[in-house]
């Protein structure tokens, strides 16, 4: 399990400078918003999935002496680790920036601003992973459907956030605990479906 998660992080290192640059840019310029960190998380979770598809390494993984369920669970755990990592690094770097330059960085990125986009990442990946475990990430039609869905959802959410923000409604603090629990359940259900699918998949 650990090897599989480590493998995903090794693949992540390949585009590390791009990710770090993206991160720094948004930390400095948009430190008050959690949305860029949603994009960072999505990039980080999608790189290993894309690498598996590009290199056809799923066949390699299932030929190793490892249970298919371990491969599935490792991918979900990797996503959770990425989410935790993005939140932690963003929070602490925001804190450091605030200490170093309180005039420019008036406040530390609030925890709920960090958590909400990551819950959204969990939700998206919960939708996508069972499809990816069934067809691989190459299935053009499936990916198009996902891409359209994701675009629509992201667009709608951003719009809602902007509207609610302008009205002074803090949507995240109200039901964040319930949303987190809900996303946890959604992810568990998604993982259960992925486990069933992957067990029966042929290569």
């Amino acid at each position: 399990m650990f090897s599989l998660i480590l493998k995903d992080f090794m693949l992540l290192r390949v585009r590390m400078w791009f990710q770090v640059g993206f991160w720094v840019f948004f930390m400095v310029n948009v430190s008050g918003s959690g949305i860029p960190f949603l994009i960072i998380s999505l990039i980080m979770v999608s790189i290993p999935i894309g690498a598996d598809e590009k290199n056809k390494t799923e066949s390699l993984l299932v030929s190793l002496p490892v249970k298919r369920s371990t491969i599935v669970i490792a991918r979900y755990l990797y996503i959770l680790v990425v989410i935790a990592l993005v939140m932690a690094v963003t929070y602490f770097s925001s804190r450091v920036l605030h200490i170093l330059s309180p005039a420019q960085f008036e406040r530390v990125v609030p925890f709920d601003w960090l958590l909400a986009p990551q819950l959204f990442v969990m939700f998206l990946m919960s939708l996508a992973l069972p499809i990816i475990f069934r067809y691989g990430s190459h299935l053009e039609a499936g990916i198009r459907v996902i891409a359209v869905s994701i675009s629509v959802i992201i667009g709608a959410v951003i719009l809602l956030i902007v509207i609610w923000d302008s009205m002074g409604i803090d949507i995240f603090s109200i039901k964040l605990v319930y949303t987190s629990l809900g996303m946890g359940v959604v992810m568990l259900i998604s993982m259960g479906i992925s486990l069933l699918i992957y067990k029966r998949r042929e290569f």
């Binding site: 493998k7 090794m10 590009k54 190793l64 002496p65 490892v66 029966r200 042929e202």
Partner: protein
């Protein structure tokens, strides 16, 4: 003789293709070549052995154990080499090793380092910089480093230049000097098998044509060349495949001693190569 691999009545159905009740066995310490034209069912057979495909019926025993019930244990004792590269091209060989090694309890770092040196593979090289031959060698190095007892290779020599091919075949021959190791590899480069295989299994259109020792194949199969008058009803059963041309016929027989007895004059009888066997079997037309 104890078998490392036993397949009985293996059946796998797809849309438009059926692998029809294939049976064969490979004893410990031997090399078996799986031959057949493209689409014959070689990869389906190999993937079924690796449990990458779910068989419809039949039995596959490896090391005397069912390949589904004892999947992890069996896979930990198998080295599997795909026909196409399946490593992360953005990673180095060392990183690939770091990913793969922990899955094997019997991983032997000393053997890995020695193989990398012997095969002249630089650890720091990225997978994407490897040639196809180097890629095969790396896959083999990984297989050897966990003391794989059965090495299964799907088309390992296709796309390799002759020098690399010969080198790979020499490595495989050297491997089975350890009599507990066996190799199963599929190919349509039949000259490779004539060089190193102890057993030859021929699959055609999803059906097993034969699974014999190399000597049995060359003792029994021959090509009969003669006039069209050979195509009689009486001779039909003797021919497994016939090619007619302007001046006569060339036919494959699977009963070379009988053909030699029967045709004395005006006929040329030669031992068949594996390529002949594949070619004429594809032609069909034994009964005329």
């Amino acid at each position: 003789m104890e078998n490392i691999l036993e397949i009985k009545s293996l059946r796998k159905e797809y849309d438009g293709f059926i692998l029809k009740d294939i049976s064969f066995a490979l004893p410990y310490g031997y090399i078996m070549g799986l031959i057949g034209p493209n689409g014959a069912g070689k990869t389906t057979t190999i993937k079924s052995i690796m449990n990458l495909l779910r068989r419809n019926s039949g039995e596959i025993k490896i090391f005397g154990k069912d390949n589904r019930e004892h999947e992890l244990e069996i896979k930990s004792r198998i080295g599997f080499v795909y026909d196409t590269p399946t490593f992360y091209e953005q990673l180095s060989l060392k990183q690939m090793k770091t990913i793969i090694a922990p899955f094997y309890k019997s991983w032997d770092e000393g053997i890995f380092q020695r193989c990398m040196k012997d095969f002249e593979l630089p650890l720091k090289a990225k997978v994407r910089t490897l040639s196809r031959g180097m890629h095969m060698k790396f896959a083999l190095a990984l297989a050897l480093s966990h003391h794989a007892e059965l090495i299964i290779m799907d088309e390992p020599t296709s796309g390799l230049d002759p020098v690399f091919r010969r080198e790979l075949l020499d490595i495989l021959s050297a491997l089975i000097q350890d009599e507990r190791k066996s190799i199963l590899f599929s190919t349509h480069v039949t000259s490779d098998l004539e060089r190193i295989a102890d057993y030859i299994t021929f699959i055609h259109k999803g059906e097993l044509i034969f699974s014999l020792t190399r000597d049995e194949v060359f003792e029994n199969y021959g090509v009969v060349k003669g006039g069209k008058d050979l195509l009689t009803e009486e001779n039909g059963g003797l021919f497994a495949g016939v090619r007619q041309h302007r001046y006569g016929i060339e036919a494959l027989t699977s009963n070379l001693p009988e053909a030699r007895k029967k045709f004395k004059t005006g006929v040329v009888i030669e031992k068949a190569t594996l390529e002949d066997i594949m070619f004429y079997t594809g032609k069909g037309g034994g009964n005329v």
